[in-house]
Symmetry: C2
């Protein structure tokens, strides 16, 4: 470059992750695997715009109202023109508001039960801090129906999530556990003892973080539960059940409360449908309540058994009312959401991902000399037409340089077209070092 | 719902497209096909954050400076906190600024030539108007190298794009044409006749829209070219060449201008490398100049032959300087970009897409009765484990209702688990109506 110009040296923007090609390749494989599993269960894909009208977001609200105000990013044009009266647009901060708006808006064009998956970026305008993303990908599935929704779907969710998470490359499946509960059970008990369900559940939601003693103290001193009442709550939430012994739940907690009994029946039913999963994959854990009063029955969380304080990597539950902010219909649903970026970043941090490949190519075709270019290009085309991913080296450099290039990119095979007519093609397995004669028309990689 | 609450009826936001599931399925197939083709040529995927620092965007600038100011969406938090001193962030309006920033920032971690593809949404804060998207997907490939980049890659671009576009579902390949030129040729001529290359090229770039006469008049009356000079320009740009007769280019335009000769040599070389493409797929057309002085050699546009006024659906070219705004390195490259959303929306509008499937499921498994639920679920699982996409009907409704559901969703096969032990499974091809005995362990769909 002849002119000296001023340079603005770019730096990473806090909270907006970006990966090198070798990491992106694994991320893409994860996303493909998730999508494929969702589709294997018949979920259809939707994508919504990155923005919603601010009024749409405000009509439904977020997890709780205050967060929307603080966390939403609103779009502004750098220079507005006079008379610019567009509706205010905001980047979506979850996929629930968009799903609700989508379902209401396209209600007449959808077939119910509407089973959709959605894997998009969402944005939260949090202050920059380590480990917090301001842009991240969520992978959600939900089933929505009109008026009522069979419990069948509550059981399908953890089965799908187990299938997804347990076979992600780099994931140690014995360290993951899906925890299921049903809010009706604790809700019934709290009605029974006349305690404020929202406040008590909020306290219990934090028990893993703050510990049992601190929770006891909150229930006693701030929410004024008696010792007997606190004991009844604790004896309920401290028991865990596997699909095999879930039948004991109703034995341990006989009650005349309708809601509580209904919740127990539902939870038993859901857990028993999951008995085909490996031991430890799923437990009923009544301390799982989710912070949101949005959920009305089954709830899910997923934790790392060796690091439960990391929090849930995949959560969700059953709700009665998806979209009454937008349409006069009763639309119950059940859904679950993988916090994809957070999960991926953690497994990456642990060094558990194989990130040696900087290119998707299976084969690098060597260019032996400028006058063999046509042959090299044809060789690459034959291999491509057979479904292989092939890079053709661009210049007739020394063979050693071309092989070094393949090695740096992590390309597993190097192909040598003959440097003169009458000779054979050869291909080298870069891992084993073995080099053999081959025909591009019928070559296949080693097992 | 017991309470009457106020409803905010959502409506589409102009410029932010969103599809029903049956259209989204085809869109996804298009994206998969494009990605697969890019990878077959060894391009690696990158994704960048949706935002860049506003200073990064301003340092490089857009297609031309004014547009950045008008078209960029800046993020604002709804309620800023005191002392909030984050850098200003803006949604990217193309993938070139992000690529340049990425290449500079990760320079030491990349292997060059760096071949990357990028398929993301971009945003342009245009005023709402029919047919203009404010959020859309672009599919870009670029090859970047240090100091110099072989012409090989200039020829690879149209070959890849042809392979992508010609086999998209619903696309009539005989109606697409890739047009290639080399800016050095016209640039050389304009230097020779001492005309302002930027102004003349801008005029020529619009010739398809405004016509030859209007262009003549601009060249004569606004840019003061003589009749002889205008004739020399027109005689250059009016000729088209196929890969077979491209050799005539230098015969028709003998010149002593170095730049012009270099451009002709390059264009001939690129075109001759494309002689394996079907007739009409690619032509050399010297009226293609692209509006941007960013491009320095080969340039590409792609048009519908039956509707050239629709403009280019896929454009790009060779540039000398990707990232000198961010790093003190000479980084030449060549790239091409598919305006995905605009192209997809057009083919959709033409009614050329098969959008009958509202579910990815290959098979709907019927639930014969509540006490056959385990068998039905197991049947679904066996089919899934064999790679099929399977929806299990959720309730033991009448068989006719379950079949109607499959039909409304466009699911091609309905599976009937036996309604009592000892009987066979059966499966119905919903298209042909044929129903046959089948075993979930070895069934395969009809050809």
């Amino acid at each position: 470059m002849s002119e000296k110009k001023s340079i603005y040296k770019p730096k990473p923007v806090s909270g907006f992750p970006e990966w090198l090609p070798e990491v992106r390749m694994v991320e893409q494989r994860w996303l493909d695997h998730i999508r494929e599993t969702f589709e294997r269960y018949g979920f259809c894909s939707i994508e919504t715009p990155s923005v919603e009208e601010l009024d749409v977001i405000k009509a439904k609200g977020g997890d709780d109202g205050a967060d929307v105000d603080k966390e939403v990013y609103v779009l502004e044009r750098l220079h507005k023109e006079d008379g610019d009266k567009d509706a205010r647009l905001a980047l979506h901060f979850d996929q629930t508001v968009p799903l609700a708006r989508y379902t209401a808006q396209h209600f007449n064009d959808l077939v119910f039960p509407f089973k959709r998956y959605q894997m998009q970026r969402v944005w939260r305008g949090e202050r920059p801090q380590a480990g917090r993303f301001r842009e991240f990908t969520q992978c959600d599935i939900d089933v929505i129906n009109i008026d009522s929704l069979p419990l069948h779907f509550d059981a399908e969710m953890p089965a799908i999530i187990w299938e997804v998470l347990s076979s992600l490359p780099g994931m140690e499946k014995e360290k993951i556990q899906i925890r299921v509960s049903n809010r009706k059970i604790l809700m019934g008990l709290l009605h029974e003892i006349d305690a404020d369900p929202d406040e008590v559940m909020r306290a219990i939601d934090k028990i893993e973080k703050v510990g049992k003693e601190a929770t006891y103290s909150i229930l006693e001193n701030e929410l004024y539960l008696s010792g007997v009442e606190i004991d009844s709550v604790f004896s309920l939430i401290e028991n865990k059940y596997t699909p095999k012994d879930i039948f004991k739940l109703s034995e341990n907690n006989s009650s005349s409360n309708f809601l509580m009994n209904e919740g127990m029946k539902e939870l038993i039913n859901v857990m028993q449908s999951l008995s085909h999963l490996p031991e430890g994959a799923v437990v009923a854990d009544l301390s799982i309540v989710r912070g949101l009063d949005y959920y009305t029955g089954t709830v899910y969380e997923t934790v790392f058994l060796d690091d439960p304080s990391y929090g849930s990597i995949c959560s969700g539950g059953r709700y009665d009312d998806l979209a009454s902010s937008y349409i006069n219909k009763a639309l119950p649903g059940v859904g679950i959401s993988i916090g994809f970026s957070r999960l991926f970043a953690r497994i990456l941090d642990k060094g558990a991902l194989n990130t040696t490949r900087k290119s998707p190519a299976d084969v690098l075709v060597v260019l032996p000399s400028e006058d063999r270019r046509t042959l090299a290009a044809q060789t690459a085309q034959i291999l491509r037409s057979r479904g292989f991913k092939v890079e053709l080296y661009h210049a007739p450099k020394k063979t050693g340089d071309q092989m070094k290039f393949a090695s740096r990119k992590g390309i597993p095979y190097v192909w040598f077209p003959p440097f003169e007519d009458g000779l054979d093609h050869e291909v080298k397995n870069m891992d084993s070092g073995e080099q053999t004669k081959a025909d591009p028309k019928d070559w296949s990689p080693d097992e």
